[in-house]
Amino acid sequence: MIYFDNAASTKPDRDIIDKYCEINNKYFANPSSLNSFSKECEYLFNKAKNQILNNLHLKNYNIIFTSGASESNSLALIGYVLRNLNKGDHIIVSEVEHASILSAAKFLSETYNVKVSYLKVKSDGQFDIEHFKQLINEQTILVSLMQVNNEIGTIYNFYDIKSILKKYPKVILHSDACQGLGKVDCDYNIFDMMTFSAHKIHGLKGCGCLIFKNNIKLNPIIFGGNQQLEIRSGTLDIANAICFAMAIRKALNDFKINYSIIKNIHEEIYSYLKQNPILYELNSQFDDCPYIINFSLKTKKASVVCEALSMKGIMLTTVSACSSHVDSSSYVVKALNKNKDIYNNTLRISFDKNNTIEDAKEFINILDETIKELKDAR
């Protein structure tokens, strides 16, 4: 099997799974209890927190562990806006955000009358800065923009955004940074709040975090025993915290080695797709995050090719649900101003350190052969 769906989820590293079992075996106490065993567990939990912040070079930030990126994103938007409505009632998100951001923004707008603006992207995928200037105003309290796009791999440039935000000191900048961690170089200090997820970097599913500056106040969206700064109740999960810290440490340490492997794979496939403009249209730019390539099929139906490739052992995705019954179009590719046939027939391939250049070559051969074999079912 060639697994090219790593933007959806990566294979957990063996040592991380082992560590998870080991910690659960040894340190099973509830860290919030008062006995000495619990205190030992709490110590390890805090150690994991500090290790993550140190590895990301973040000082004066807090970290809260969550069930994953969707919860972190929901907490960032809903928790922040509900706590800070006295400062203003307007937020800006980009139109290409992950569903968890878009849905949380929709919830705020429908339930709390929060005004939501959707920032456009240009045909190269980058945020439209002129549009951003028009949207931001004195009522704006939060801007949430992703660091790397999960569907097409755009690495967003925050330089202009940051310089505009200097004129609006009360605006908080949140970023869903799941797809960039360990994959593109970034100084995370540019963000006031940020979301990460463990299973995108060979950690375990069911674990994410929200990191935010010390002075930021959030309302909880999950209630209970007031753990984690009274913002995120629920028994502290030491094993997940430690494994997440381990996954981040590994991802950052191995960044350069991994990047060079992936870059080769990326170049091989990207240049093949670019050489065949009759069959394929690239939706990703060459300089985008090399871990993701998004392209559209010009002659075949994407869901059929996806199925055919999976029968041949190649796992990838059409980005959205493979179906003719539901809206199968990619809103991200649509936002690039492409036509219907293009945004309805996208395929996304996404790589990780376990892939090889041989995988890339085999993928090219099989894709080529599959496109020739299949009937034109559009």
């Binding site: 199925e307 493979c322 179906s323 003719s324």
Partner: protein
């Protein structure tokens, strides 16, 4: 605890079935016992006119819920069995009455054992007198709070006031076995249900055309059949690899006739498998006029390739009515899950709504479909779907 509490199972159309009745009752009893095999405190009395199940109050609702779905049962009454003696009957009638809640009552008496005296009218008179004397209840023959039935049968007398409607139809297994063409949409599971309700055991045939249809659709079929396992414990699913035939049709035939020819191929394969599996009829979810391949002309042209009986239980149903049944039998939520099936992906823009056989045959002659069909039949996989493994991973 009431030790004379029973469920009285009334038969559906069995009463009209003359000398086959014994076999039918035997089959129904077998089906009931099988469905209730997890309850070990039930005792069965299988008689000529009813089946009685001795039961205790703790599991009565659960048992009735299961009985409601078993075909061949018209209704289920919750009865007290009494001695054929007027005082015991009266004592048990009083168990049915709640002097606080009930304001009115009505009595009905049926005397299957004509040798029993007094007559029905006199029985009613005696019991009514007792009730009127000892409670605040009054008689109301039109809209009573308690409609009390007294049945004097040969072996005993029974009193009851509560009956629950059953599924009707015939006991599963008495009407042979049919092969249902199962796509995964809304209609075909409903057609399958209607056959089972009529006493026909089913096997299902599915045409898989990966990659044009998705592997995931098979998991959807498992879930659909798990829902239908409520009516038939084990259902065989035959999965026919259909991709090569699809490909050949689209390479050799014009697009507007593709669906007609595809359906003709499916019918040919179904008939061959029907013979292998010793089924007696082909069943599908076709409804007249619903799509181009389901006009009468289309059906005629498609049907001509085989001689077996084809039953279309939904032929005259409107889509909304089919949807209502699928919601009732709980297949709807599974059916609407988004997957491409064999009919949706190659849908031509202008399919022929009245394809004639003489137009179609020349196109079919363009390729050796028989050897493709033989190959598909040879590579058909059979799986048995049951609820046995439901709690395992």
């Amino acid at each position: 605890m009431q030790d004379n509490l029973y469920l009285m199972v009334h038969f559906g159309e069995l009463n009209t079935k003359g000398k086959n009745k014994k076999d039918f009752i035997h089959q129904l009893a077998k089906n009931i016992k099988n469905s209730l095999k997890d309850f070990n405190n039930l005792y069965y009395d299988v008689l000529h006119d009813h089946i009685y199940i001795k039961i205790d109050e703790t599991c009565i609702n659960e048992v009735i819920d299961i009985l409601k779905d078993i075909s061949g049962i018209k209704k289920i009454s919750i009865v007290y069995k009494c001695q054929k003696e007027i005082n015991d009957i009266i004592n048990n009638v009083f168990k049915l009455i709640d002097d606080e809640k009930d304001k009115t009552f009505k009595l009905n008496c049926k005397r299957a054992d004509k040798t029993f005296l007094p007559h029905s009218d006199e029985i009613i008179h005696q019991i009514a007198t007792k009730i009127l004397k000892n409670t605040k209840l009054k008689v109301d023959v039109h809209n009573p709070d308690k409609n009390i039935h007294i049945e004097i049968r040969y072996e005993a007398a029974y009193v009851y006031c509560k009956s629950i409607l059953g599924a009707g139809g015939y006991p599963l297994g008495v009407s042979g076995k049919a092969l249902v063409m199962l796509s995964g949409g809304i209609d075909s599971p409903v057609a399958a249900y209607m056959m089972m309700k009529r006493g026909v055991k089913i096997e299902c045939i599915h045409f898989a055309s990966p990659p044009y249809t998705q592997i995931g659709v098979i998991y959807k079929l498992y879930d659909l059949l798990h829902v239908l396992n409520r009516y038939q414990e084990k259902i065989n699913l035959l999965i026919v690899p259909f991709t090569k035939i699809q490909d050949a049709i689209y390479s050799n035939c014009p697009e507007s006739y593709a669906i007609t020819i595809m359906r003709r191929m499916m019918y040919r394969i179904s008939e061959a498998i029907l013979k292998q599996r010793k089924c007696l009829a082909i069943v599908n979810g076709e409804s007249i006029g619903q799509v181009a391949s389901q006009t009468l002309v289309s059906m005629d042209t498609i049907n001509k390739v085989i001689s077996s009986v084809v039953i279309r239980p939904l032929a005259c149903f409107d889509k909304v009515d089919i949807i209502d049944i699928s919601k009732k039998i709980k297949t709807y939520d599974v059916s609407i899950r988004p997957y491409e099936d064999c009919c949706t992906i190659f849908t031509p823009k202008n399919p022929k709504t009245s394809p004639k056989e003489e137009d179609v045959v020349p196109f079919e002659k363009r390729f050796d479909y028989q050897s493709l069909i033989d190959e598909a039949i040879k590579n058909t996989k059979i799986e048995t779907i049951s609820l046995d493994n439901e709690n395992e991973f």
